[in-house]
Symmetry: C2
Subunit: 236 residues, 2 copies
């Protein structure tokens, strides 16, 4: 039966299910899917192993539910930000706004799970690297629409760059985004402590700045298979 909100409180639902989801999300995101056992998750959530089976049936089902929880709100948030970005008149500013609309939801707070969050993005990065089948299916059918929308929007503000190259460069963006969340400590280490890889605001600014520049690079697709130095034509 569908549960109905009971008399006393509407929000005071038992949090065991949520605790399991949160613990699983964290553990999967940091250790991968196969390295984490159901018992690990249960322990981290303060629950009984059997409780995981009860709520999610299988370990795959648990992962599936994590995705279901986040995908909708995250894509919604991205769509809203994208729509706002498309209303920017200046092409240069619009491009930056579009990129920001793509990047920001991926980084912002895992505390309010309203949509996106760094933890879920890191989870996606890890699942992608592991070639997880469950994740692969969900991603292709959930994120491709959004990805196409962003690619098209970027293409519109960079009409002289072939769509194929936009695809490549947005692919690089996602890779950079993922990697920034997977190993932020590498940034701190290589910068000898001068930068903090875990600083989401800094990561966003750096990523947006670098990515916008990469999108604005001249196309190489059709023109020059042999690239001589026409490279001085660096317009901005």
């Amino acid at each position: 039966m569908v549960r109905k909100p009971t008399s006393k409180e509407t929000a005071r639902k038992p949090n065991m299910r949520e605790a399991i989801l949160a613990a699983a999300e964290e553990l999967f995101a940091t250790n991968g899917f196969n390295a984490v056992s159901v018992r690990d998750i249960a322990q981290a959530a303060g629950a009984n192993p059997g409780s995981v089976t009860y709520h999610f049936k299988t370990k795959d089902g648990l992962l599936l539910e994590i995705y279901r929880r986040h995908c909708g709100p995250m894509n919604l948030r991205r769509s809203e930000l994208l729509a706002a970005a498309k209303r920017v008149r200046d092409l240069q500013d619009r491009l930056e706004a579009i990129v920001r609309a793509y990047v920001v939801p991926a980084f912002t707070s895992g505390s309010d799970l309203a949509g996106g969050g760094a933890r879920f993005t890191r989870l996606r990065a890890v699942m992608s690297a592991e070639g997880n089948e469950v994740a692969r299916r969900i991603i292709a059918q959930t994120f491709d629409d959004t990805s196409h929308a962003f690619i098209d929007a970027i293409h519109e503000s960079l009409p002289h760059v072939p769509r194929t190259e936009i695809v490549w460069r947005s692919h690089f963006l996602l890779g950079a985004l993922y990697y920034s969340l997977v190993t932020p400590e590498r940034v701190s280490r290589l910068s000898r402590g001068e930068a903090d890889g875990s600083d989401a605001a800094a990561a966003i600014e750096q990523l947006v700045q670098a990515t916008v520049a990469s999108f604005q690079a001249p196309a190489l697709d059709q023109a020059a298979p042999a690239r001589r130095r026409a490279a001085a034509s660096n317009k901005t």
Copy 2:
């Protein structure tokens, strides 16, 4: 005891050990460390599970040996290419040569294992995502020197960009590189078949082009902490 090269041939050593290494490399790179069992590896190599234990003692030892096999030659190759790149006079061309020196060895042929190769790079990407401890240790102590050398070289050809930002952008480069090798089919899919994500030459050109542009982006570190207009209002 140490094996000595025998009379007949020097190179005709039994290939079981090599076969195991190759099979493990492939399986780890595509499925992650924990998802692959020693028995899987043995079967793929046409060997007996016990044979793996004999040659590498533990599963970790096998992974360790894979890294040992590749790290030396790969860093050597990168150093050579970097040294050559640094001799390029024109700053713009030099930057591109440096980036290329970093990227090319990561992509080129897994058939001759002389140094680098896409398969090993993909392996590193996956291990990094999984937070593998063995890999983490090796990487920090093996690749950081090379990374610093590249960062310094890039910094020299872009003196006006703070080193911290070079670090960020080269981090993005590595992330893009990794991701291109992890999910090349995504490029094919999003480009609706117009690009082939598995085409190493194309990936290299696209990555170099995009990365050089991102390095040449103006620095944002000191100048403008508040960008003109925040495209999206962040409540948070």
